[in-house]
Amino acid sequence: MDDRTGAVFDLGYKPYDGERLGRSGAIRAIVKDGVRRVMGLRRKARKKVYPWGLVVFAVLPATVFIGLAFTLNAFSPEAESPFGGHAEYMGLTGAIVLLFVALAAPELLIPDREEGVLAVYSSRPLTAGDYVLARAGALFAVVASFVLLPNLMMYIGFAALDDRGLGAALLGNLGDLARVLAAMTAYIVGYGAPAMLIATYAKRTGPAAGTYLAVMFGSAAFAEAFQRIDFVGARFGTMLSLLQHPEVVRSWVFDKQQNAAPIAAGFEPWASAVAIAVLGLVTGYLMFRRYRREL
């Protein structure tokens, strides 16, 4: 008997026949890609230096201080902290947020447009709004992580060294955490929105980052000038200070003294919070309008 066997296999097209997810899966994928891109993951070392350098700057001081406090166990950390409490530390991280979003926002948006990659998104089951939301979400996620991490370390560290005991201190200081979240949101929206808006229309990442920083610092200088000019309505010019609004909100929520231009011009701190909200909404609308044409 011939026991030889043989078979002819189908070499033809083998399609994917698994399940399909909805838009949420696509949005998650864009957020994940955005986080990876902003942090330079799976890219050359030089692409990692700037974002990771800033993250280290944001996290390291709190890490060292809390570590020392635990090691020495000899001083009251909140009272003797060289950074003060959360309010002061948020001031430090606010500056880092500004520098971070200057490059992160262009990196998130410009290559997709300029390298013709938007077609990848436009022929997928997602809308222009989904794309904008996902890109903004990626920026928010990264910035929130490095703003929250040191503050959480401080929150837990202070509580652990508190005479009331860890549990009681954590509960007792919950207000601090809420204030950190509020100030963080003000920084991310207040600094992130103009960066995203400029990146929405710019063609190259470097010039976009430069323009952003010029606009931010220029707006503060402009506001200071308006503060000194003496004519009717000049004080409204101080509200143009994009750089100072998040600072005003931070000082407001932590109940600290402040001398930013809008406050010196007689505006209540909530006006800065409203300005940030308006800025965020206008940016979202303009981005959506811009991308609706292409997606």
């Binding site: 033809g12 097209y13 083998k14 399609p15 994917y16 026949d17 698994g18 399940e19 399909r20 997810l21 909805g22 838009r23 899966g25 696509a26 998650r28 994928a29 864009i30 890609d33 799976r42 890219r43 290559p111 390298e115 013709g116 990659v117 077609a119 990848v120 998104y121 436009s122 022929s123 997928r124 089951p125 997602l126 809308t127 222009a128 609706r292 292409e294 997606l295």
Partner: protein, 313 residues
């Protein structure tokens, strides 16, 4: 039954009186056609409006006038329709820093594929890129980049594939591979619309073409039928026989034969009445004792048809 060769009986994609203009420039003008299962070649010279039409089919661009329907619904911002469309754009559309595998996996995630890694591996295998899948796309040749784009379009197994110049930059082996892939998809019942300027390759893929010239629908249907419909351009026929001079002289006396030239290959006839020539040629051969070895149209190739269409502008 459809009345125009530009329309198919059971359309997946319908284009109804579509025009698109950008400011003063009219890119597509009053085009009506449809696409069904199988492969249709979309032809036209550079700037004819092919890419604009394809972008409207995928919903990336809205028509200024008229309507585009994909499976009965307009595709623009239609999330459900996009699950059924795979698009290979003409532009780069690749992330150079990602590897081929990462890029296709990302495309799979964007399309809601639940097992993106497996789907990406399958798509990479289909386009013959498995061996290079873990290299950065930035280092790919143009042909490899094209195949990566095709893999990204295939990864979620769409029913409708819209491919803008997918064979650009591919070498002959890669072309043959992609063409056999498109044929396999056609056999599965997919709707495939391919724009290309590589006419011989379109000819190898399909008989049905839609030709766009200056934004207008210039011709549609079977390539040979389109040629036959161009009655204002004389047919070119080659006749190979043993007595070319005698047969040539005899043909010249017949009305409907516009010109006769003789070279090493035989007789080249230009005629406005191909059917008439076909009916008399056998009788003439018998009458003049000529042994015919070949009688064939010379210009029913897609390239000839295309040249005529563009030349009619």
């Amino acid at each position: 039954m459809t009345s125009s060769p530009a329309l198919v009986a059971d359309p997946t994609v319908e284009v109804a009186a579509v025009s698109k203009w950008f400011g003063q420039k009219v890119a597509v003008s009053d085009v009506t056609c449809s696409f069904g299962q199988g492969l249709t070649g979309l032809l036209g010279p550079n700037g004819a409006g092919k890419t604009t039409l394809l972008r409207m089919l995928t919903g990336l661009t809205l028509p200024s006038q008229g309507k585009v329907l994909v499976k009965g619904q307009q595709p623009r911002a239609n999330v459900e329709r996009y699950k059924e469309i795979g698009f290979v754009p003409e532009e780069s559309a690749l992330y150079n820093t990602l590897t081929g595998r990462d890029y296709i996996t990302y495309a799979a995630r964007l399309s809601g594929v639940t097992n993106p890694g497996q789907a990406a591996s399958q798509a990479l295998e289909e386009v013959g890129l498995t061996a290079d899948a873990d290299r950065a796309v930035g280092g790919f040749s143009k042909g490899m980049r094209q195949r990566t784009k095709v893999a990204a379009a295939l990864v979620h197994d769409p029913e409708i594939l819209i491919l803008d110049e997918p064979l650009n930059g591919t070498d002959p082996v890669q072309r043959a591979h992609l063409i056999s892939l498109f044929r396999a998809l056609t056999e599965r019942g997919n709707t495939i619309i391919v724009s290309s300027h590589v006419l011989q390759e379109v000819e190898r893929m399909t008989d049905r073409v839609i030709a766009i010239v200056d934004g207008k629908l210039a011709a549609a249907g079977d390539i040979a039928a389109i040629r036959r419909a161009m009655s204002d351009i004389p047919y070119r026929v080659v006749i190979e026989c043993d007595k070319t001079r005698q047969l040539g002289a005899a043909l010249l006396s017949h009305t409907g034969v516009d010109s006769v030239t003789i070279d090493d290959r035989g007789l080249h006839i230009e005629t406005s009445d191909l059917a008439g020539l076909g009916s008399i040629i056998a009788g003439l051969a018998i009458e003049h004792d000529v042994r015919l070895s070949r009688f064939a149209p010379e210009d029913e190739s897609l390239e000839s048809v295309f040249r005529y269409l563009v030349g009619r502008r």
